[in-house]
Symmetry: C2
Subunit: 385 residues, 2 copies
């Protein structure tokens, strides 16, 4: 059997941001030698992984050559050169999640088509190769305001997603392949993280509930467990499992969903990796999502996804009006509250809405946790000198 | 106010072993730049801290020059050159725990004298500059078999501690300053970790109960909370607080104690740092001992020391008969049990009884946790190729 611990085995990770950084705390725990590629020499993982390489994740040669240095390859960001992964896989390298999955997930139009094909519930949409096509479609009465525009490629954290309310909004859209999606009036945004290992073991984390910042379209609070009916939660978990099955997925899959006004579950999108909606698990769960990711890609037994306590996560994003060397204001004040754990991602420069860290709040009582989360949100500020 | 996070502030740590490694997972969480000195280029911290220096912790110049590179200095091992720390402190460097405390704790004879002076309950003892003095003392009937011999300096994990039962044992003792301590027939070995910050805030962790390996004199199980009467636990916490107060201590102080047959508490010895008896806290406590150490030395508010769940720690030590490149046998089997978290320390070479890692078991029910701990102990083996 492969010996992963304190051995010559090398785990490669494409991307060295905060997700990689939190993964490192697990590879360190198990002493798994970890090699990371990131475009920035200042990436959050750069100083603290076993080996670090600087390079473009979208460049074929860079990704291919990096893959040749490692024994198993995974990702912490899905925007990577898939052609290089295909070639590495064809040459025998184990890559989880599978490149074929990443290719579909990387492109939001392909992702949506996949859901339709696999009869996974999702909002209706139209697919356009160019924004001009979308404009024609509007002029011919095939789409109506308001609708949700999504760039097919490389959107994240609300970049590449816009609610188009009128012709001015339509005119302002950037060029490129996109989809126009029916607006779904929803009660809740939910997410379920599924983990699956190569031998097919499958577990789901509890359903979490997300509250978004109204402007930045970034998650402000992730609440676990979601404060929803058990029947809805059960439906959400089933949909998430169906998505993981449809992909024949290996690794961690975060499935974001809408709970509609009539309690239907529609898949919004997935992330083929550890996810913001699972950060609460570091303090609240028996098995953190980062440990679970390792377990799944290394074909270990999957860990218990139950929670020790209720958990809420607050994102720390750069305050508007501040760009420069970061200062985290009032961290000590929130550390004075029971059950509060800040995580700072090691980014030296803040800018408006940049994800700079998060804070987890755990408590026996979820309402108490929610109060503390509000307090935390109001107290900490990410500014610059 | 000093800005510690994602800043130019440098935390120096003397020692880069497993305690430093687990501390790093907290400095990474808060993005505190950490600089480490260790004698071994292969030290568990070497690859994963922000800056690493190789050098002798007992050498004046090495420690002094290292201290000049950092803004605040702490330790993960107490056997360091105190003269260098005194000079650094006199030149204005903040050092926690204080060098004056370390000087007393480093020498077991001084430590015992300190307890006597401060009226802290401890077993009776005699102090000898040489083993020959001890032999004379025996020959003159001033000590009787059996007694406990302890080397005054640089003992750890049972090295430097022997039960002397007869003249042969006495003859076999190594040279050097030592104490002869009265044998205490005890019900339990207990430990309490106290954290104190410079402004004087003070917290104690729950009392833990330790079971030792009969031969190696290393802790096999640490059980939190100790399965003892609340009145005894309260007495143990009070004694631990008294010790911390007597030292006017800053940082984490692990106080090891005996519960005697008549439920008295006697201090055995202290460690001025994070401690094996607090490893359970990573998974079981609201605030891990490593985060608490940071909070205490940085003068932050101290964290909640309550437990989320019952916790038991099993040490993973090198099996007898194996020396060489380490293999951790059956880690995957124990990862199949709920609430089990292995920590491997990143040491590439195992040898008999070397501390190579630990496993934490958490459970709502302490008896169930104890069963799992036994299973873990029987399943995992630390061997070599």
């Amino acid at each position: 059997m492969q010996n992963y611990f304190s051995s010559h085995f090398k785990l490669g990770v494409l991307g060295g941001g905060q997700l990689g950084r939190m993964l490192l705390s697990e590879t360190q725990k198990l002493d798994i030698h970890t090699v990371i590629l990131d475009k920035s020499a200042d990436a959050p993982c750069a100083q603290i992984c076993n080996e670090f390489y600087q390079g473009d994740l979208l460049d074929f040669d860079t990704v291919y050559n990096f893959g040749k240095k490692v024994d198993l390859l995974t990702i912490e960001i899905e925007n990577v050169n898939i052609d290089a992964l295909d070639k590495l896989e064809s040459e025998g390298l184990t890559i989880y999640p599978k490149p074929s999955n990443l290719r579909i997930i990387q492109n939001k139009a392909q992702q949506k088509k996949f859901y339709k094909e696999k009869q996974i519930p999702t909002a209706d949409f139209n697919h356009y190769a160019f924004v001009d096509e979308l404009k024609h479609s509007y002029e011919n009465g095939l789409v109506t305001f308001p609708f949700v525009w999504k760039s097919a490629r490389f959107g994240y954290d609300g970049n590449g997603v816009k609610v188009v309310k009128n012709y001015n909004d339509l005119e302002a859209l950037p060029e490129g392949e996109c989809i126009a999606e029916k607006m779904i009036p929803f009660k809740n945004e939910l997410a379920v993280i599924v983990a699956r290992n190569p031998k097919g073991d499958l577990v789901t984390y509890p359903v979490v509930e997300m509250e978004f910042h109204p402007e930045a379209n970034q998650v402000e609070y992730v609440i676990c467990p979601a404060r929803i009916d058990e029947t809805v939660a059960e439906k959400a978990r089933k949909v998430a499992l169906k998505v993981a099955d449809a992909f024949d997925f290996v690794g961690l899959l975060a499935v974001e969903m809408f709970q509609t006004q009539d309690d239907e579950i529609l898949v919004n999108e997935v992330a083929p990796r550890t996810h913001n909606s699972g950060h609460y698990s570091i303090e609240a769960s028996y098995t953190s999502q980062f440990e679970q990711h390792l377990r799944s890609i290394l074909d270990f037994p999957l860990g218990n996804t139950d929670s020790k306590l209720a958990g809420i996560m607050v994102n720390l994003v750069g305050a508007e009006g501040y760009t420069g060397e970061v200062i985290y204001e009032n961290i000590q004040e929130i550390m004075n509250i029971d059950g509060v754990t800040p995580h700072l991602y090691g980014k030296k420069i803040t800018k408006p809405f940049r994800k700079m860290g998060h804070v987890t709040i755990v408590n026996q009582n979820i309402d108490k946790a929610r109060e503390v989360a509000q307090k935390v949100k109001e107290t900490v500020k990410v500014i610059s000198k």
